[in-house]
Amino acid sequence: MEAPSGASNASAYHAEMDGDTKIPLILFPTCVMEAMAPAVGEAVVRTLRDRGFAPSIPPDATCCGQPAWNAGYPEEAATVARTTLAALTDAPSGPVCVPAGSCATMMRVYWPELFRRVGDEEARAAAVEIADRIVEFTRLVADDRRQADRQGTVAYHHSCHMLRELHIHDEPVALLTDAGYAVADWDDDDRCCGFGGLFSVKEPEISVAMADEKIDGLPLDGIEALVGSDLSCLLQLEGRMRRRGIDLPVRHIAELLDPSGPTDVR
């Protein structure tokens, strides 16, 4: 479909879209987003609609199983992942959008290996089948580039799995600059934030030291927010910044792309 000019005028755009047929899309919201940031989930939904999708969440989807898989408990990971896999398989066809790089990696890259490891051939085959449909949020949205004139300078954190397993690097930055934001230079914006799931609890001192080095490198004077595409990393960085008394806003990228979001990042 055609992107109307002046897409920054969100309401006009919506009016124009209303008569349009939207592409059905399955949204896998992720447990962290549902529990800790349903407001970000709303921004994800609105952004997807704005790009011509009709998102729905399968009621029986739960979690991708990653916490247990990364901790070394494949049986438990498979028990949970199987539930979500079944829910997604039952849902209508079309892309499965995941607004978190690490969960998208778990589902796309590691599910087949997980089910192979626990000897569940049927689930493994289903996981292979669905892998191609699983798409990380920014990659999906970046298929439809839109110019806008939002204000603000942000730092962008590249999450590890998204970067090194899904190889998504340029898309989120392009989306931000298209929307009008300036993305500040940040040395080592692609170094790990130190979250790593259970790692942040098992080795908290190392985990915090890793976050500290990232935070110390932030050009705090020149930015209005820290932005990322994976809430887990953002919780880690925000959690550490709050403890250190740094109150820089931390935002998921969907909040900055949200058609009914503020035009100013603050």
Binding site: P29, C31, E34, A35, M36, A37, P38, A39, V40, G41, E42, P55, S56, I57, P59, D60, T62, C63, A68, N70, A71, G72, Y73, P74, E76, A77, T79, V80, T83, E113, R117, C160, H161, R164, E165, R191, C192, G194, G196, G197, F199, S200, V201, K202, E203, P204, E205, I206, S207, V208, A209, M210, A211, E213, L235, Q236, R240, R242, R243, V250
Partner: protein
Amino acid sequence: MSDDLRTRATEALADRGLHEALARATDRFVEIRRAGDDVANLDALKRAARWQRHRVMERLPEILERFADAVGRAGGVVHWAADAAEANDIVGDLAARHAVRTVVKSKSMLTEEIGLNEALEAVGIDVVETDLGEWIVQLAGDRPSHILGPAIHYTRERVAELFSARAGEELPPDPEVLCAYARASLRERFLEADMGISGCNFGVAETGTVVLVTNEGNGRMVTSVPPIHVVVMGMERIVETWDQLDLMMTLLPRSATGQQLSVYTTQVTGPRRDGEIDGPDELHVVIVDNGRSHVLGTGAHEMLHCIRCSACLNVCPVYRQIGGHAYGSVYSGPMGAVLTPLLDPSPAATELANASSLCSACHEVCPVGIPLQDLLLLRRADNAAGGAPAAFRAWAKVWSRPAAYRASIAAVQTGARMVPDTFVPSAWTDGRTVPRPRGRGSLRERLARGEI
């Protein structure tokens, strides 16, 4: 040294000087490595290298035999050591047979692994490390903290102190002065040494050649000046053909130090031949297993592909924070966390699987494509073979039932809002403040009801 990773890491983290030295050194390694991205088809070369390493490992026993035959034909003697004790005995016997009093060594992590220096020193032999970094560490009575830069945890001021103490005069912290002092001191030792011991970067099976990659020239001295040269070689450090060597040599210096070629690439085929001026009278190659053959054919076999370039250490955000010593093992960083428990599955070693946030930076740079993060995961799963803790089993039960999942999400939201600091483990909240939830209510229900 404490045998608990967390304690060792905490001690290392408290040492700000260490962190500065590490950040500076690893940044420098990473920066210079970028210069090695000069080959246009680097990714294709890495894939080829991974495949070639596979091909060698598939037929390792046969290729090793071929190598041993060729070494023999060139006039060298091959010894097979099943473990560290056997390897040390073989070298010790050779030393005794030749009444060796002084040994000069070029850098070899394998000799660290088997404790060769200690074994030789125990029978009164003077062992001198001749790689600058190794020499610094030896003078300090310390251990290497990095497989390529053994002394990267030292500042030049500390090196000046060490050297000054040995020299009996004040030396300035000027790298040129310090290197000159080391060179002069070591030269004497080369000339008086009865035996040279080196490691081996690659053995080439088709010709029985031992290839050493060095930058200081000490490797060439160790292999040519003393009357006996002993090579201590891990059984996996082998290629079959010179074509394979060519590929590995395209990748190794680039991945290690960003060089297109290291300053010295020493190729040793047999001892000195009739009519040659330089070279030892005897060449011995000790091929060491020490746990390696157990790894063949297991899910972790790719770790044997490692060519010890150290790129994975230099990009590792965990290594960067805690340095090599905190791993409590000879090998550190991602490769150390994987390799150490493969060679010796003690609890202290298997715990190293936790020294990673699984960020995959290691896999990204590994010239032979070892999926280090997957091997760490494999180890974590092995560590948990006795069963997951009750909390994880309970979690799996609840989150495999959609209704229970939805209820628990609501509970977490409430918990995070009401008692943010008590609903996650204190290990998390000791250093971090749980952010307040953004928004409330069930995202999926609101979407289904058309409220978004």
